[in-house]
Symmetry: C2
Subunit: 218 residues, 2 copies
């Protein structure tokens, strides 16, 4: 096994370090966050840090840099409180990645990438029309991460949208059926295939699969 | 499309809501976090919230509940400062999921699940021997999320370990080659296959794949 310590990491060439450290924590969620500015300018950008925070109340979080790109997402959320989180699927990875290009301030990534905005149920922020799983969020709080100038943005889940066929009777969404991708590092897009789904673990008892007919819960 | 709003989410049966809200943010990283207590008790548990925070300094974060299970991970990190993050691979998903069982306080999940501890380079916290990508972290800070009683734990990356064959010349780790899985919801384990990897996006220029020989960077 290769071993690299923090002294060597610090000395690495910048892009090499970015690629390594962005890969070492495993696969990341692949979402487009979309916002609207006060003067109706639209913004959409890939985020790989969207994380489940809790179900009751239903909250999510993501990490952003208030002072750097994607520069407009943070400002729009702080100004207007609303944003949408849209799962990236396998047929749109090139369009999604293109949102990272540094467009001029007044140019919307929607119009430059082939992604289309969509408004649902009078929500202020636009959704991404091509996405099949989407969330409408309201800004709740922000925690500044003093260690590196990033911020954890907390959003309350106000609306969720998804295709009927991907939900199992116990509420779970089978993301494989939605064609949702995961991100490897900064720029790799991977398509997951479900290996197994397990029942709640109990001490001294073998793990039970949802798909083994002999292993139904008592 | 199915549309569910926050009022309906709040009224849902608890497990149904857990499954839905844990799936709606997309795939999550799949890691085992391992710690050691002052009296040498070992603890290992699945976490799906490990997130890249920054590369310089190299930092990661994860969400935990200080007051509930996995109860020992938080206490051990606060008491002793060190923990390890170990990517779950496809051959160990049942063993990994079994760590969620509620064992008695003095029982180590290592000895009950078939996972083995391993000590590397005199690091205080144990690694998971079966994992092929692992990180040694030092506790840096904690941000209490007042909205739901969780906490964001920040760790500094002190050591990384991985198999030589999975790294490309630009530092990126090809997680597919490590057999790393991603988590769908609370209990689904999925194996991603790389679809594509893209060069840095530029305005007005088509996205270039790393794997297209005609699309090499100038």
């Amino acid at each position: 096994m290769i071993h690299i310590d923090d002294i060597e990491i610090e000395k690495m060439e910048k892009i090499f370090r970015l690629n390594l450290i962005n890969s070492i924590t495993g696969y990341k969620s692949a979402n487009l966050i979309a916002t609207k500015s006060k003067n109706k300018g639209l913004n959409v950008a890939v985020f790989s840090s969207v994380t489940h925070l809790g179900s009751n109340p239903a909250l999510l979080g993501f990490i952003t840099r208030p002072d750097t790109i994607p520069r407009n997402t943070y400002k729009n959320i702080r100004d207007n409180k609303y944003f949408t989180v849209n799962q990236i699927h396998q047929d749109m990875i090139a369009e999604a990645h293109q949102t990272a290009a540094k467009y001029e301030e007044e140019v919307s990534e929607f119009h430059k990438t082939g992604l289309e905005e969509e408004y649902l149920d009078d929500f202020f922020a636009p959704y991404v029309k091509q996405c099949t799983v989407k969330i409408g969020c309201e800004f709740v709080n922000e925690y500044k991460i003093e260690e590196n100038g990033t911020a954890l943005i907390i959003g309350a889940i106000k609306h969720v949208y998804f295709d009927e066929g991907i939900q199992t009777p116990d509420g779970w969404l089978r993301l494989e059926d939605a064609g949702t991708v995961a991100i490897n590092g900064l720029d790799g897009y991977a398509l997951p295939t479900l290996l197994d789904r397990f029942h709640y673990a109990k001490p001294g008892q073998e793990i039970k699969s949802f798909f083994d007919k002999n292993n139904t819960e008592d």
